[in-house]
Symmetry: C2
Subunit: 316 residues, 2 copies
DNA sequence: GGACCTAAATTGTCCAGGACAAATCATTGA
DNA sequence: TCAATGATTTGTCCTGGACAATTTAGGTCC
C-alpha cells in the first residue's frame, strides 16, 4: 500500500484548467496530438489527471513562457524539462550589469533569502528601511522592479514556492499602499485610470505605477484588476479620465493583449491616452495603433512629462 | 448612420466568457436550448456577440445569483428581467433593523451616493473620518460590514456599475491597509494565516479579519487570495501557524467550499485551528467537522478569546 | 398540514473529432 | 544579410451527442 495520500488524488479537466491556466480545449488537443497529458478515466469516462501530470504541465507552461515550442517540450521526460528550464532561465537572465543606481544584486539576493526563510518581519523591516532611504520613486524603480524580476525568475526555476511568492506580493503591496496613502493629495493633471483587463489578476504592477504617478502629483483612480473593456470605457467617461493605464503580466497572452487593447481603443474617446505596460507589452514587437507602450518604469516619468507638455501647449 | 460606436462592436465567445464568467460550453448550450444569446456570425462562421447581448447576459447572471432558474429567466425581455431583479432584491433584503451601534442606514445610503456620483476624494475622506471617529474595530464591524452588504445589494439590483464597485473595493482596501500598517507590531499569539481557496478572488473580507485580529495583537500572515490547498498546508508548517482563516464570498459555491475545507482539514496538523467565514459559510447548515465557522465579524473576537483561553490552560 | 420518498424535468459539464486562421519555422532568392 | 514564400505548428472554434447532479413535482403516509 502506498502511504502517500497525494498519489491517489486525481483532478478533473476543469480543475486542471484552473490550476495550470491551460484551456480544456488545449489540454484535449495536446493529448490528441502529443500523447501528453494522458489522464486515466474515472467511472464516468471523464479525464482524471494525476498530481504528477499536473506538476509536469505547470513545468511545461513555465517553459513555454520562456519561449520554447510546445511540440519540442511536450513528451520529454520531466528531468529533461527541469534541466532545460534551469538552462534557459540562466541564459535569459536579463541585464547582468545593473542599471545606474539600481539596487545591488547582492542585496536583491538578500531579500530573496528573507522570503525563502519565511522571515516576514525581517522582510517587511528591510523593505521599509529601503523605502525610507531611497524615497518612493527610486524604491519602486531601483528596488521593487528588479526584485520582482528576481522573484519571477526564482519562481520559474522552481526555487520559490507559490505561498512564498504570495507572501512577498502581499508585503510589497502593503508597503506601497501605505506609502501612497501618505502622499499629499494630487494637485495636477492628468487624471489616470489604473486597472487591468479580465484574466489579468496581478495588481503589483499597477500599484507601482500608481506610486510613481502619485509622487508626481497626478490624480490616480485605481480600479483594481480585471475590469471588462466596456466598464473601463464607462469609468473613463464618468471620471473624465485623461490617461488609461493597463498592466499585462508575463502570464497574459500577447494575442489576447493585442485584442483587448484594440477593442478598448475603439471604445475610448480619441483624446484619451492609453498606456500599456508589463512583461507582455515589452515582448511585443509593436504595440497596436493608438496605444503608448510603457517598456520600463522609468519611461513613465518621461511619458507623463510628454503628456503634460502636449496638453499645456494645446489647451482644450 | 448610427453615431454610437458601441453598436458595431462584437465580441468573440472567449471574450464573452471573460466578461460574464459563463463558460463557452454554457453559452453554446443556452443558445441551443433557449435561443438566447443568439449571436451573429463573423466571416469565419464564429459567434459574434453584441454588447447589448452581453449586458443582458450579465443581468441574467445576477438573477441566477438571486436564486432564479435559467429556464425561467432566459428568453424574457430585458425590461422584465430588470423589474424581476429589483423585486427579488427588495424581498431578499436582509435585516431591516440595524444592530446596536451600527452605522445608520441613512449614513450608509450617503456612502452609496458618493460611490454612485464618482466622488472619489469625498468617499475617501468620509471613510477616513469615520475610521478616526470609531476606531478600527468598530469601523470594520459597524461601518464597513453593513456598507459591504449595501454595495452587494445595490450591485445585484443593477444600481451599481461594475467599475463603481471596483472603485469602492479599492478605496476600502486602501483605508484598511493603511490603518493596519499603523498598528504596533503584534505582541501575542496566535499566529494566524489569512487567505482564500482558488476561485475566490475577493480580498476585502480577509483584510477586515486581519484588521480585527491585528488590533488584538495577534500575528497575521496574509497570503492574499487563491492559494491552493497544498500550498496553504506548506505555509502553515513553515510559519508555525496556530490558526488558518479562510474567506468565502457569496459567489463561492457551498459544495466547492465544503470539498475544499475537508481536503484542507486533512492536510493540516490536528492542533491547527481552521476558521472559515464569509457569506457562503453563513448559508451553510453545518460546517464540515473540525472547522470553526465565523458567521459574523463580531464572532471573531470571541473566537480569539476562546482560543487564547484554551491554549493558556493547555500549554504545549 | 407536514415529513418523506420517488419520478421527471432541468441544467451544467464533458466528450469526440473535424476544421481553420494565425503564428512560426524553413527555404529560397536577391 | 535580409526579405519573401511555402510548409508546419498550434490554439481556438464548431457541431451534436451524452450524462450526472441538482431541483421540482407528485404521491403516500403519519
Amino acid at each position: 500500500m502506498n502511504t502517500d495520500p497525494l498519489q491517489d488524488i486525481h483532478l478533473s479537466i476543469s480543475a486542471v484548467e484552473r490550476d495550470t491556466g491551460l484551456s480544456k480545449d488545449t489540454l484535449r488537443m495536446w493529448e490528441r496530438r502529443y500523447g501528453f497529458p494522458s489522464p486515466t478515466r474515472d467511472n464516468n469516462g471523464e479525464r482524471a489527471y494525476s498530481l504528477t501530470q499536473v506538476e509536469k504541465l505547470r513545468l511545461i507552461v513555465r517553459l513555454l513562457a520562456l519561449g520554447h515550442r510546445p511540440g519540442k517540450v511536450i513528451g520529454l521526460p520531466t528531468a529533461a524539462l527541469e534541466a532545460m528550464g534551469s538552462r534557459t532561465a540562466a541564459a535569459t537572465s536579463s541585464t547582468p550589469g545593473s542599471g545606474p543606481g539600481e539596487t545591488e544584486p547582492a542585496e536583491i539576493a538578500g531579500f530573496l533569502e528573507l522570503i525563502r526563510s519565511h522571515q516576514l518581519a525581517g522582510l517587511r523591516q528591510r523593505l521599509l528601511h529601503k523605502l525610507a532611504t531611497e524615497g518612493l520613486s527610486r524604491f519602486v524603480c531601483a528596488t521593487v522592479a528588479p526584485l520582482n524580476v528576481a522573484v519571477g525568475e526564482a519562481w520559474i526555476r522552481g526555487q520559490l514556492k507559490v505561498f512564498e511568492e504570495h507572501l512577498y506580493t502581499e508585503q510589497i503591496q502593503s508597503v506601497l499602499r501605505t506609502a501612497i496613502s501618505a502622499l499629499p493629495s494630487p494637485w495636477q493633471p492628468p487624471r489616470v485610470l489604473l486597472t487591468s483587463l479580465p484574466d489579468e489578476p496581478h495588481n503589483l504592477g499597477l500599484l507601482m505605477v500608481e506610486a510613481l504617478l502619485a509622487v508626481e502629483g497626478a490624480t490616480c483612480i485605481p480600479l483594481g484588476t480585471e475590469t471588462p473593456c466596456d466598464e473601463i470605457a464607462r469609468a473613463a467617461r464618468a471620471h473624465q479620465i485623461d490617461v488609461v493605464a493597463l498592466s499585462f503580466s508575463a502570464s497574459f497572452g500577447p494575442r489576447q493583449a493585442w485584442a483587448g487593447l484594440t477593442q478598448l481603443r475603439g471604445l475610448l474617446p480619441e483624446p484619451t491616452a492609453l498606456w500599456a505596460g508589463g512583461a507582455t507589452m515589452a515582448q511585443l514587437r509593436k504595440p497596436p495603433p493608438g496605444i503608448d507602450r510603457v517598456v520600463a518604469f522609468t519611461d513613465l516619468l518621461w511619458m507623463l512629462g510628454q503628456w503634460r507638455q502636449t496638453r499645456s501647449t494645446e489647451p482644450c
